[in-house]
Subunit: 322 residues, 2 copies
DNA sequence: GCCTATTATACTGATGTTGAGTATAAGTAT
DNA sequence: ATACTTATACTCAACATCAGTATAATAGGC
């Protein structure tokens, strides 16, 4: 077994990739650059104290966004993810939660990289189940069916059918909104998305491929996005991170809409309110909002103390399996 | 905002650190090298297809261990974690589950690095609550008390008291076995562990420091171990990963002891069995084990199919908050 | 043969959580 | 005024969880 450090002295470089999420107008959005098909990335420099501080410094300087919550997502270094074969880039991806606003003048005016916010459902239309099963499903389904039918033998076919059914909530399986990455991976295997067709010379089933909606991204950025969505959908259930995405004060329905936007499905209103109140996550500001079109709603504020209280204990949000 | 790759071409190297876990004789153990205070690490080479395949190849070749489950833990690159200031090592840590056996001859005979299995409670004695609150607690508690008392002002003191109470289950707080990392970080801040005293020239409260039990490790390896323990303790509750640590056949009590070893606390037997059976995680082999000293116990086998079935749906284990 | 230690198995009840439905209050648009 | 929208407050059944108890089957020591 090898001894300690003697680290390899090869041509390796490190990049930080930022997945910045905000929720605006009931839409979960990600910050993109370059014709809106790439995630912003920055170099990891020796000057940085740590990976996270490197990311924070770089993002806040360049965008002026208030980065509340930041967490490491995943580290990638697959050989085939970058074109060059002799050099290797390690990409450490981070998920950051913020609010869509306050892009610096510099940022807003510079159209060089065309930084802009885009709904993550532009890239994953099949992940939005708020209005029932999305339209994408019809073409997606035929793609899946073709993939299942194309299996070499009976058992493989059966396995594929099972897997597709479980992941996409077919037959009597229920839709599980957390399986974003697994669904993406299945579609990659099934070559239903353009990314799968890069680099190797195997036949391209254009008929299927071109028909499945959802914009692709460069390299494996869409995969990183899938990872982030999955992580966030899981996290909001046991950590009070949603509030990083909310304005200072908000109504309970706004909060609910935000959660629904992230989860991609609707929640039961009375239960949602019960859970929020039971856990004392918010406090009444005494003010009301009349912009709702109906009875004025109380405005609440996040009780910042719970961050200290439950850095530990955790939280619950009612996103059920139905 | 920066464009895409232009990755920095600085002196950066990448290392893979392996946290290999097995459970033997009711003890959760980790593979260590170098006088048993370091985790094995290997280089990340250009030849490797991906990070995970690099780790797998390297571990299995050198140790002959059957690596079942492998997952990425965390990526570190803090400046102060390595001695050298001008070079930067990115360490990607992985958690691997295996069984303690089948170390290759080469491995077993080579005493060069003295690879050996050690109980993770050697490094974290305060994490084992199977026999009630561990003895470590007395010295640990006085350390915490000193840290609380040393706070500069009243509010800080109150916060420290709160935090310590919640993390270590003092007063009427319950012990949460998942907070391994947070406890380690508190102790680091409170300078109750030797690692905290490296590198900077601040005063050393030897009286306290030397009295808190638990072996230190080199660099930030003990922190990585804490991260891994926390991850595993969380994971066994919703993923059937325990079985990677079990022999082919086992009794329900053996399984329970394994879970208890990992969680560091005892579980309620009837409830444990009910949950295991309800979920159909195991199947009867028809054989029994008489090595228990009592009534022969049925031998069970893990139903490998559930890996396919619930790569998705998840699993439950009864590790309660009491 | 009896006692004890060990495990297997079955049941019970209190408590808490969850999903879903209903009723009433307070505003706005027509 | 009326309808429509949203806010807020309850209720209820189904289910899961925690904890405790009782009984049966086997081995080993005395």
């Amino acid at each position: 077994m090898r001894s300690l450090p003697p680290a390899s002295t090869q041509a390796i470089a490190a990049d930080l990739i930022a997945l910045l999420v905000a929720v605006t107008a009931g839409d979960p959005r990600v910050l993109t650059i370059q014709d809106q098909n790439a995630l912003p990335s920055g170099p990891f420099e020796l000057a940085h104290r740590s990976l996270q501080s490197g990311l924070r410094a770089w993002v806040e300087r360049q965008t002026g966004l208030p980065l509340g919550y930041v967490e490491q997502l995943y580290t990638f270094a697959d050989r085939d993810r970058t074109g060059a074969a002799d050099q290797r880039i390690i990409s450490i991806s981070y998920l950051g939660l913020t609010r869509e606003q306050g892009l610096t003048r510099e940022q807003a005016e510079s159209s060089q990289y065309e930084a802009s916010w885009r709904s993550w459902y532009d890239y994953f239309p099949w992940e939005d189940h708020r209005l029932g099963t999305p339209v994408a499903d019809k073409t997606l389904r035929s793609g899946l069916t073709a993939w299942i039918a194309a299996a070499p033998d009976r058992t493989t076919r059966s396995h594929r059918r099972q897997r597709a059914a479980r992941l996409f909530g077919l037959d009597d399986h229920i839709w599980n909104e957390e399986l974003v990455l697994q669904r993406y991976e299945l579609m990659y295997e099934a070559r239903l998305i353009p990314e799968a067709l890069r680099g190797d010379g195997s036949p391209v089933p254009t008929a299927i491929t071109t028909s499945v909606p959802g914009d692709p991204m460069i390299l494996d950025h869409r995969r990183i996005l899938a990872t982030g969505i999955a992580r966030l959908r899981a996290k909001i259930k046991y950590r009070p991170v949603v509030f990083e995405l909310m304005p200072e004060t908000f109504t309970l329905l706004q909060l609910q809409r935000c959660v629904e936007a992230l989860a991609g499905k609707l929640v039961h209103k009375p239960n949602f309110r019960r859970l929020i109140e039971q856990q004392e996550l918010v406090e009444d500001t005494g003010e009301t909002s009349q912009e709702t079109g109906g009875r004025p709603a109380k405005l609440f504020r996040f009780r910042r103390v719970v961050l200290a209280e439950r850095a530990i204990a955790g939280t619950k949000l009612p996103i059920s399996g139905t």
